[in-house]
């Protein structure tokens, strides 16, 4: 997985997690509100509807009770008693007129004698006077009439709802007795009130319940769930049907015989559920807003505290991997685990950087040592036959040098030469010339071998030169690190006393160079400066290093200037100071030399210059190197 993908993935995972958590929270809240809070409102609403129906039932029963009380007042009245018995005819004029019915709110007033004959009766139906017979329930031969009219108990009374031909009616029937309740029963007093629209409106006004009723024509119309009639005390079957805006509650009212007569209907507006719904909606909206705010704040905090630092760490690692620059630091000063991770990572890169430097140094030195060993071995092998040949030449020349050919010729040409020695002189001369010839031949052979071996040495050196041209590793280097190591080459001798000044800005400047090569160049310049001061016979001196950044041929470069107060050099020296084999140090051939330094810097894309105001005025060496760009 690439770095960019990993960073996106982390952010996406955090965002997705927050989204899922907040979504789950919102869903849980919605389900809770809908399954717990909203039904609670619905139950309250049904309770209210139930109560409304009970209130409507009780209101009707209350009206029946009031009617029964009025009927009782009239039945237990001496004047009425005397009137029924025919002893007080004026009762009719003084009490039984139409305004009386109107004042009492009655639809029916009927007075019967002890035989059940109607003495006086009046029916008002739809604001018009009607015949009592229209009711169909107070006929003499009717069982219902007999039940209502023929009382046997002076305290007996009958009241309740009654089905009539003109509609349901509240009806009360009392025996007519004296005011003190004593009999005998003179007749029957019956009063009734229709359950009509006016009554319904009156009931609605008084109860503030939207009530109405339907007359049951047959028991088949009664729902199976309303088998128990309302009893006025809250008992009885009540059916609730809920529409979008109302709860329709119904219950059954029976007549005074216990037969279902009316379906009482109460319509309760769904204000409570509407309030509940708006409450739930408001709560959901607030929860959703809170969830969004919490999610955003949490996401921002996670991003600031965790995601961004981790992405920064990943970017940093990728940057190091791409650039290979182990000096690049996170420098995160957070005091949490991520800060500790960044700190540990910085330490790790530090250690890795040091290990890499050490490895480079060791591999460089090991490579150089191996190369030197190989070169030494091969060159020494090549030189051995040459030395052996020279030994042979020397040996032969030593013999030749001792030959006395001239003396032998002189002895032969002398008249005094003994005859017995002539042959030996000739033998000596012959042997001498044979030796000279053999020596010449041997010398020629040795020179051939020497020439061949010299070419072999040249071939070894040429091969080494090719290997030396392998490009060194160029990397970003902090100058302060290089100089801190380079100054270690300056001997810690007591004299001369050297003052070393490194410009502070060096710590902020980096170059691109071969680390070991630059280290050796700077070490060489430091050592040269020290030795120059030493040769100046001064008791003290100063070596300074300054640095500045400049642009050369549109390339950003860094100029390092190593200056000393040593013996300096003249103009003639400055022209050849970087030539191969040149040294201003008398009889001194150690060290890599400025020629090597110039070549090494050229291999790094840099260069070196030297300047001096003359002998005794010190010297400056300018080192120009490519600047390191960015991290």
């Amino acid at each position: 997985m690439s770095k960019e993908a990993a960073a996106r993935s982390l952010q996406e995972k955090v965002s997705l997690t927050l989204f899922v958590v907040m979504g789950a929270l919102a869903l849980l809240s919605y389900v809770t509100l809908q399954s717990v809070v909203a039904p609670a409102f619905d139950r309250l609403e049904l309770d209210e509807a139930h109560t409304n129906l009970i209130r409507a039932d009780r209101a009707i029963r209350n009206d029946i009770a009031n009617l029964n009380a009025i009927t009782g007042d009239w039945g237990l009245w001496d004047d009425a008693y005397d009137y029924v018995r025919g002893e007080y005819p004026a009762f009719e004029d003084s009490n039984l007129d139409r305004p009386t019915l109107t004042n009492l709110g009655l639809s029916l007033l009927a007075i019967y004698d002890e035989r059940g004959d109607l003495i006086w009766g009046q029916l008002e139906f739809e604001q018009q006077e009607g015949d009592i017979g229209m009711l169909g329930v107070l006929n003499r031969k009717n069982e219902t009439s007999s039940f209502l009219i023929n009382h046997t108990d002076p305290t007996g009374q009958v009241y309740g709802l009654l089905r009539t031909n003109l509609g349901p009616m509240m009806l009360s029937s009392w025996p007519v007795v004296r005011s003190d309740g004593s009999g005998p029963i003179a007749g029957t007093m019956i009063m009734g009130q229709f359950l009509n629209d006016a009554r319904a409106a009156s009931l609605r006004d008084r109860t503030e319940v939207q009530l109405d009723w339907t007359v049951i024509d047959s028991t088949d119309e009664v729902s199976e769930t309303m088998t128990v009639p309302l009893d006025g005390s809250g008992g009885g079957s009540i059916l609730h049907e809920t529409s979008r805006t109302t709860v329709e509650s119904t219950g059954v009212l029976t007549d005074l015989f216990g037969t279902p007569l009316l379906v009482l209907e109460v319509s309760t507006p769904r204000k409570i559920s509407a309030l509940g719904n708006s409450t739930v909606d408001g709560a959901l909206l607030i929860l959703a807003l809170a969830a969004i705010v919490v999610a955003l704040v949490t996401w921002w905090l996670l991003r600031q505290i965790i995601v961004s630092p981790l992405v920064g760490l990943a970017d940093h690692i990728t940057s190091i991997r791409k650039s290979g620059d182990l000096t690049h630091k996170l420098d995160d000063d957070r005091d949490d685990e991520i800060g500790a991770l960044a700190h540990e990572f910085d330490k790790l890169t530090d250690e890795l950087h040091e290990a890499r430097k050490l490895l480079l140094d060791q591999s460089f030195k090991a490579g150089k040592a191996d190369t030197a060993a190989e070169v030494m071995h091969n060159i020494r092998n090549a030189m051995t036959p040459m030395i052996n040949g020279i030994d042979r030449l020397g040996k032969n020349f030593a013999v030749t040098d001792k030959l006395k050919v001239k003396e032998a010729v002189a002895a032969l040409t002398s008249p005094d030469c003994p005859a017995d020695r002539v042959e030996k002189y000739f033998q000596y001369i012959d042997s001498a010339f044979s030796h000279i010839a053999a020596s010449n031949a041997d010398a020629a052979e040795n020179l051939t071998v020497a020439s061949k071996q010299a070419r072999q040495v040249e071939a070894i050196l040429a091969d080494q030169e090719r290997h030396a041209q392998v490009a060194p590793v160029i990397e970003k280097l902090n100058l302060d690190e290089v100089l801190d190591e380079a100054v270690l080459v300056i001997p810690k001798a007591d004299e001369p006393e050297i003052e070393l000044e490194l410009e502070e800005v060096i710590r902020d400047v980096s170059v691109r160079a071969h680390r070991v090569g630059l280290l050796q160049v700077m070490g060489n310049l430091m050592l040269n400066a020290y030795e120059s001061i030493e040769r100046s016979d001064s008791d003290s001196g100063r070596i300074g290093v300054t640095v500045c950044e400049e642009t050369v041929d549109e390339q950003p470069m860094v100029r390092l200037v190593v200056s000393d107060t040593g013996c300096g050099f003249d103009e003639g020296t400055s022209e050849k100071i970087f030539q191969r084999g040149f040294s201003s140090k008398e009889g001194h051939l150690s060290g890599l030399g400025l020629h090597w330094c110039a070549n090494a810097l050229a291999g790094m894309g840099g260069r070196i210059q030297a300047e001096s105001e003359g002998p005794g005025h010190g010297a400056k060496f300018h080192v120009l190197l490519p600047a390191a760009q960015g991290g």
């Binding site: 020494r380 092998n381 051995t384 042979r392 000596y428």
Partner: protein, 164 residues
Amino acid sequence: MNTQTNDDSIRVLIADDDEHILECYRDAFGGSEETDYIKALDALDAELFDVDNEVEETPRFDIVACSQGQTAIDKAIEAAEKGNPFDVVILDVRMPPGIDGVEAGSRIRELDADVEIVFVTGFSDVPLDELERRVPPPMKLHYFNKPLSFMKLAKDVAGMVGAN
């Protein structure tokens, strides 16, 4: 490989991977004919001109030369089996591609505790104390750096076996 035999000679086994070096060994350790020629000239010189030339008595060497360490070991084994072991073994340290001279010297030392072992090399990455440990004893171990005079080496070798 070159073999010269002489009953009075010093038996020397030489191993070096450079043929030019081997030729130098042959010149330095096998020049008895040339020495005889110079001796005759010196004798005439003394007779005819009354010159008292001190003719240096040069030792004679019986040399066996090879270019690999393993060959040197084989030659040493063969000589020991024939009851005619080498007096001196001269070894180069680096003789690629086979075993190096130190290993060869160590194995030869196991065969012959008295043989003088000489290391002659252009470069050795084996420290001297390790050489002494692997090819003991130190008094029978010698070390020379190339380049060197093989004539002087021949004298030194003769000195090692007391035949100077």
